[in-house]
Amino acid sequence: MTKQWGLKSTVGLALALALSTGAMAQQTSYKFGLAMPLTGGQATYGNDQVKAAEWAVDEINKKGGINGKKLEMIVLDTQADPQVGIQSVNRMISVDKVAVFVTAWSGVVKAVAPIANDNKVVELSVGANSPDISQLGDYVYTTFPLADVDIRAVANYSAKDMGKKKAAVLFINNETGIGSATVYRDTFTKAGGQVVAYEAYDQKATDFTGPLLKIRAANPEIIHLQGLVAESPQVIAQARQLGITVPITSYSGIYNQKLIEQLGAAAENVIATSLAPGVEDSPLVKDYVDRWVKDVGRAPNGLPYTQYLYDAPALIAAVFTSLDKKGITPTGENFRKEMLAIKSFDLPLTGKITFSEDHTVNKPVYLVEVKNGKWTKKAVVGQ
């Protein structure tokens, strides 16, 4: 019995391999991988990000590709799950022989890092913001600023530019919530402010009255909320119901149209960050958002993230073009060298990016505020 089934599985694998070799034969194109959640709970974001990358690849190929050669993108599903991500990335590297791949979601980014390092293939994390991503190894880079960048900007801006002296911090009790809340507290205190309340709520909580009442009693001038997209609107709504009217700051997660739709007037005085230029900052971004409305009939889910995904193929194409000009074989090792040699890239939708020695990138932080039912630009911090 065992023998028979062993044979069958071998045949299946051989078939799978035979199918793949057909795609490997041609050398006239440049390939890269994109591993994103196409299914599962994160799919609404993953699919929009894939669409943005697809548009970018089409655009690059329309403009002549990599010195006349085609840029090809291999898209595979990760379900935002480490184990599925490992399989997808292994497939891209072993079967499709990519030299570089793009992925997101902290769990997947971390899980596939050993594969990238072992195979000397460049992993570009685009969208995950866990601070330890910068320490995952020689072949792991991020084009997206890690968590501490925007939290620091918000804390500094509140203390220095808005002149707030007393802040309260309300955060979700998980890895990212705790990490970011600590960064905010330390930065705000250093900038001369005082954190008068520091409250956490449980991940699955739906009622936030307890911590909010404690915060109200502490009488802060500003509140920083570090939650997830899912429950943040609820928290803000309950805060406003309890008569807390001070400005509420948060991070890029809550920067979307839905927040205003859900909260209505309660959304006023909410300040979020964006790590990419908005519609008002760049005509290219405006064209891009218009294209979404025209082609898909709505704005993209998580606009800034899709902007970063749109720009990833441009960065990869720039490195490939340079390698192609010099006639260097596009291995992962050469790709990494060339990418670090070029160092600075001017990208269409997110602006300039410079790779630093410590595997992070620095970007200006855009602060946006809800005013009269609309997200309006407040300030640009950093750079």
């Binding site: 019995m1 299946g12 799978a16 490992i86 769990g107 594969i115 890895e175 990212t176």
Partner: protein, 303 residues
């Protein structure tokens, strides 16, 4: 080749998981779907022991197995004393509670996951050696469970599963059998967890949740409960199918939904068309099948 190795390793690991799960839910009839948490316990114990105290990896994997075994006994003893259904509730509670707890322990990586787990065998003997190790252990697990279920112990389990009251009347201790089988199955899952940890070198609490429970359950149901080869086939089919689909070069807008519908579709299909799974268990269908088959072959032999 890494791709093929990874698939083979995952197939091997899921053969171990599905077979040991079938021992618990199929052969012994214990309703619990918390199998992945024992997989997780084995993985985390083995990873932490080798990472923090530098314990030799084979030993740490074994400790992971023992840890999972003890943890499962801890859940089973109080739950089974009440009644069978309580095991389902207690085990799910244990699974979800432990996952939540793990997310808040920064020593084991918290919700962000445990990274930099030491690797085993790969550096010295290449990835092939790990594939061989996992597949050998998978075959050993299947043979062990076959030996266990087809011997006198197996007959005891069948008797208890089919009529617990009659079984007790014979002077046997049903609870002791249940706890022992639950612990054996979970201990095997723990060893599989250790094997997972030292190859993939990253663990995240969320990956051992209800999604994985349903995946393993699907493997057992699709393959055929209470058979030796059923879970093996289920594990192979459900590991290979999503991979094969990716070779059809479908656009992401089709690939995504197709992958998503695959599991659900398979479960629905089997529930309606073939509830006994690909390989039906002999004792359930014995009357009809044996007669029918025998008649067929006799006729064929004559003509």
């Amino acid at each position: 080749m890494d791709y093929v190795f990874t698939i083979l390793i995952l197939i091997g690991l899921f053969v171990i998981l599905a077979s040991s799960f079938d021992l618990v839910i199929g052969h012994c009839g214990l309703i619990s779907i918390a199998h992945p948490i024992f997989y997780a316990i084995g993985a985390y114990i083995s990873a932490m022991l080798s990472k923090q105290s530098g314990m030799p990896i084979p030993l740490s994997i074994l400790c992971g197995g023992v840890g999972a075994l003890l943890a499962s006994a801890l859940v089973a003893v109080p739950a089974l004393r009440v009644s069978g259904d309580y095991l389902l509730i207690a085990s799910i509670g244990f699974q979800l509670g432990l996952i939540e707890l793990a997310k808040h322990f920064h020593e084991i990586g918290g919700a962000g996951g445990l990274t930099n787990i030491p690797s085993f065998l790969i550096k010295d003997f290449g990835r092939e050696s790990y594939v061989v190790l996992v597949l050998v252990l998978a075959v050993a697990t299947v043979l062990f469970i076959r030996w266990l279920t087809q011997g006198p112990y197996g007959r005891m389990m069948t008797a208890m599963r089919d009529d617990e009251l009659a079984f007790s009347m014979l002077g046997r201790n049903a609870i002791w059998v249940k706890v022992a089988v639950f612990a054996i199955g979970s201990g095997i899952a723990g060893i599989a967890g250790g094997l997972y940890a030292h190859y993939f070198r990253f663990l995240e609490p969320d990956q051992f949740g209800l999604l994985q429970s349903s995946a393993v359950l699907t493997m057992v149901v699709v393959g055929g409960m209470r058979t030796t080869m059923g879970p093996v086939i289920g594990a192979i089919v459900l590991q290979l199918m999503p991979q094969i689909i990716t070779f059809f070069n479908l656009p992401p807008s089709i690939l995504g939904p197709l992958q998503g519908l695959l599991f659900t579709g398979l479960v629905l299909f089997f529930m309606f068309v073939r509830p006994q799974g690909l390989l039906p268990a002999a004792d359930l269908w014995v009357g009809r099948n044996r007669d029918g088959d025998a008649g067929h072959s006799r006729k064929e032999a004559r003509s």
